[in-house]
């Protein structure tokens, strides 16, 4: 009788554990899928802006990482998929940073040219003297 009671109590417990495990198992790929979508969208958006021009290689590398993550996910290797997504995320951030860096360098070059122009104007005044 005691054994029967124990089994009756144990069955719902096991069922509950199985349900939780299934739910957790279904949640993980959903989370990965969400990150795939998010990163793919981010890559596409960046590719259509200046980033696509200035950091083409970084975006290509990020897309390769996303593809590798998809392959890993298809092979049920979630850990590798997550690692590849992690890499892709930083690669996209690098793409943005490279673009910002190039733009800043261009601005600095432009400002330097403007300064040189003004300095040569000033020099010409000094060369002309009091004329």
């Amino acid at each position: 009788m005691e054994v029967l009671m124990r089994r009756i109590v144990a069955v719902p417990f096991v069922l509950l554990t199985l349900m939780v495990a299934t739910a957790y198992g279904a949640e993980a790929p959903k989370e990965i899928q969400g990150r795939f979508d998010q990163l793919s969208e981010r890559a596409s958006k960046l590719a259509s802006t200046k980033v696509g021009e200035y950091a083409k290689d970084d975006i290509a590398a990020a897309r390769t990482s996303i593809s590798a993550a998809k392959l890993a996910q298809a092979a049920k290797n979630e850990k590798l998929a997550l690692q590849k997504l992690e890499i892709a995320e930083v690669q996209l951030t690098i793409a943005e940073a490279r673009t910002a860096e190039k733009e800043a360098a261009e601005q600095a070059t432009l400002k330097r040219a403007q300064l040189k122009q003004q300095e040569s104007r000033l020099d010409s005044f000094f060369q002309e003297g009091g004329k």
């Binding site: 590798l80 992690e86 860096e101 600095a108 400002k111 000033l122």
Partner: protein, 206 residues
């Protein structure tokens, strides 16, 4: 014999390069390379906050790589060892990415700083040019005034010389008037003295 020697040398060189490549690919080598890259990037980041933040992330991944490496013991074999080695490789790659990001942020911050400095210097130079231009315009005005004064002075000199000529003429004429007056007086006396008291009209010299 020579061919055998050549073949052996080539084989030896190939083995050395393969061993070196394998050594560079070990988890230890990856971690060492990651450490060196962080050290170099730290110097480059200096006081740039975004670059320092990236290096903090790089250090977090370096720690993860070191932990994974520490988990590989003498008794770790097969899939577990390979998985841990892959963890080291992944985390070392993340270190590399964050080091690159840090470099880009540092470079951008420097370019921004340079642009700011160029702007300031351009503004100062423009102000100097403005001052010089205003001095030049003032100078040109003064030059114009001086030229006007010069022509006025020459006019004055002409007038002075004319004045002096006229003064001379006047004084000459005054002398002549005095002489004529004297002559007239004498003539009058000569006419009045001998006989008739009749008054002879004398022309008045003005």
């Amino acid at each position: 014999m020579k061919r055998i020697l050549y073949a052996l040398s080539a084989l030896l060189l190939f083995s050395v390069s393969v061993i070196q490549a394998a050594e560079n690919d070990t988890p230890e080598a990856r971690i060492n390379a990651a450490k060196v890259s962080i050290e170099k990037a730290t110097v480059n980041a200096s006081n740039i906050k975004s670059a320092i933040d990236d290096l903090q992330q790089a250090n977090i991944y370096l720690k993860k790589a070191e932990d994974a490496l520490a988990s590989i013991g003498f008794m770790t074999f097969g899939d577990k060892k390979r998985a841990l080695e892959k963890d080291v490789a992944h985390n070392a790659q993340m270190v590399g990415l964050y080091v690159s990001l840090s470099g880009l942020h540092a470079s951008k911050a420097r370019s921004d700083h340079d642009a700011e400095q160029y702007d300031k210097l351009t503004l100062i130079t423009k102000k100097r040019i403005g001052i010089i231009e205003s001095c030049r315009s003032e100078l040109s005005k003064v030059k114009g005034d001086v030229a006007k004064l010069g022509s006025a002075a020459s006019e004055l000199s002409v007038l002075k010389s004319e004045n002096s000529k006229l003064s001379e003429q006047v004084s000459k004429q005054n002398k002549e008037i005095i002489e004529l007056k004297d002559k007239l007086e004498q003539a009058r006396k000569a006419v009045v003295a001998p006989s008739s008291p009749a008054v002879v009209p004398v022309p008045v010299v003005k």
